[in-house]
Symmetry: C2
Subunit: 314 residues, 2 copies
């Protein structure tokens, strides 16, 4: 059932012992929003923990270094930035997938799996929604919560570069800056930090570029072999999926990333194409300009299948 | 003589027949600010033209496509985003270098060459200063002027990623967005457009990386031969100079770009180092985090000289 912000706030005030779930392969928005919500609940005198199916990458450690796990029996399971219970990851999905009482999300494609869903598809990041919850609940943001929300908003909007950035996004971020957020440090950590392994991977990725559909579609490939040869970690792959769409004349940029059970496919489009529709036709979902799906077929078959799907929408 | 905004406004209202000068190798701030100022003056019923020593790169054509040159005898020469008359370029410097009546700038290193200088070293871009002039003068921004100012602000702050971004930068940009600025289109044009030639150049640049001073200094090299081999144009080199500083552990990123008369050297630093001080010691100048200088010695000599200068400040 969809609810409005005041109902979500009433719900948050009423209950206790919160387990806050982020999505698998966690990013800045799901983690920043989850930890900011966790801090809010603790400041309201409640118990709250954040859980993620995957280990939290070290570069996000400042979000939770001062937040030791509390011990309690979870009573109220909340999902943040999770459009589909499948995205919780298999372990957390099995444990909690059918027990989510509250979901706070900004994906138009949200499957409405939660008892209560607070959805704002116009929010550039869930971080904006948590900012508004702090404001309406009347708890002043402290610096760690402001840094978590800045992280959430900046990462999901490509540091205000993507088309999901709105005037509200910028105004909220201005307020967060005024709370003393270490913007320079966070931006460097999130957007500007290249390891030598990542640079080596970048050269290989650039070499893997393939063009289709008269140059309107460009694909890159990140294989397990490339990761082994460069020593790049999962977290060091972040950001490459926006590369192919940046090429002149390209309306659809695709990234094929090899995983243990096939390929994770990420699709980025200009406004000429809807990435979410393309990925839905392949069993995935997401936003109009950035969406994803999976394939368990071998690379060449998966590649041909995705290109055929793009062709239908071009 | 330094003046305040109300004095600059009085000056702009008093005179007519404005020649507005941008700096050589023009970027989004000098051009966006110059054309926004030109539009303001024309809306005040005055004559105004923008002039630049170099041709304006095609990707900036939307800034002036609807602004045909007016014919008049220049009476009032104004420089925008020009810290030093040398930066006007030799032709314009010879013609107007000693005749600048008004300079509007945000470089702390401005040499105060103009009769009247409006300086705001805290502004992320001169575009913010022109926005405030529109506001105080009471001329509502139209869409082309708003797009020029958004271009100025977004390009000079790395789309709000660099440390010169302030809460004011974000709030002004929120207002500009609300005026209907085509943010998605401009961001793609300014930040996200890679030609195939540019990608080929990127691979060569990554291959040219050299580390010094225990990995705290990283340098890249863009030679004329690389440009010839890839077919990349001057304008396609934009943005690479921020690359070396993004490498983990690097506090000083240096770009050596070969020109007809030596090398243009660009220095980017983290807050651990002052780029402007380094470049001043080499005869250049700029901002604390991004500065530049020139060298007319052969590459290896220029390189050793710059590394020695960095070492002094590290």
């Amino acid at each position: 059932m969809k609810i409005i912000r005041s109902e979500a706030i009433a719900f948050l005030k009423e209950h206790d012992n919160y387990l806050i779930l982020s999505h698998q392969y966690p990013d800045g928005d799901t983690l920043g929003s989850a930890f900011a919500l966790c801090r809010l609940l603790r400041r309201l005198g409640k118990k709250a923990n954040v859980e993620c199916n995957d280990p939290i990458p070290p570069r996000f450690s400042y979000l939770h270094a001062d937040l030791p796990k509390q011990s309690f029996e979870p009573e109220c399971v909340t999902a943040v930035d999770v459009a589909d219970t499948k995205l919780l990851g298999s372990r957390l999905n099995k444990l909690y997938g059918d027990k989510i009482q509250l979901c706070i999300d900004h994906h138009g494609s949200n499957l409405e799996y939660a008892e209560k869903l607070l959805l704002d598809a116009n929010a550039g990041a869930v971080g904006e929604m948590i900012f508004e919850i702090y404001r309406d609940i009347g708890v002043p943001l402290d610096k760690p919560a402001a840094e978590a929300l800045y992280t959430a908003i900046a990462t999901d909007t490509g540091c205000f570069k993507y088309s999901n950035t709105t005037p509200k996004t910028l105004r909220i971020s201005a307020e967060l800056m005024e709370l003393g957020v270490n913007v320079e440090g966070i931006n460097r950590l999130m957007f500007d930090l290249n390891s030598k392994a990542r640079l080596a991977l970048q050269v290989m990725i650039l070499d893997s570029l393939r063009y289709d559909l008269n140059g309107r579609c460009a694909s890159i490939f990140i294989t397990k072999e490339m990761l082994e040869r460069t020593g790049a970690t999962d977290d060091e792959i972040e950001g490459f999926s926006s590369l192919p769409r940046t090429i002149e004349g390209v309306d659809c940029g695709i990234t094929f990333r090899e995983s243990d059970d096939g390929f994770k496919i990420s699709v980025r489009t200009t406004s000429a194409l809807n990435a979410c529709e393309i990925c839905r036709s392949l069993g995935g979902g997401g936003h109009p300009a950035a969406a994803g799906c999976r394939a368990d077929s071998p690379l060449e078959a998966a590649y041909q299948q995705v290109i055929a799907a793009v062709k239908k929408f071009l």
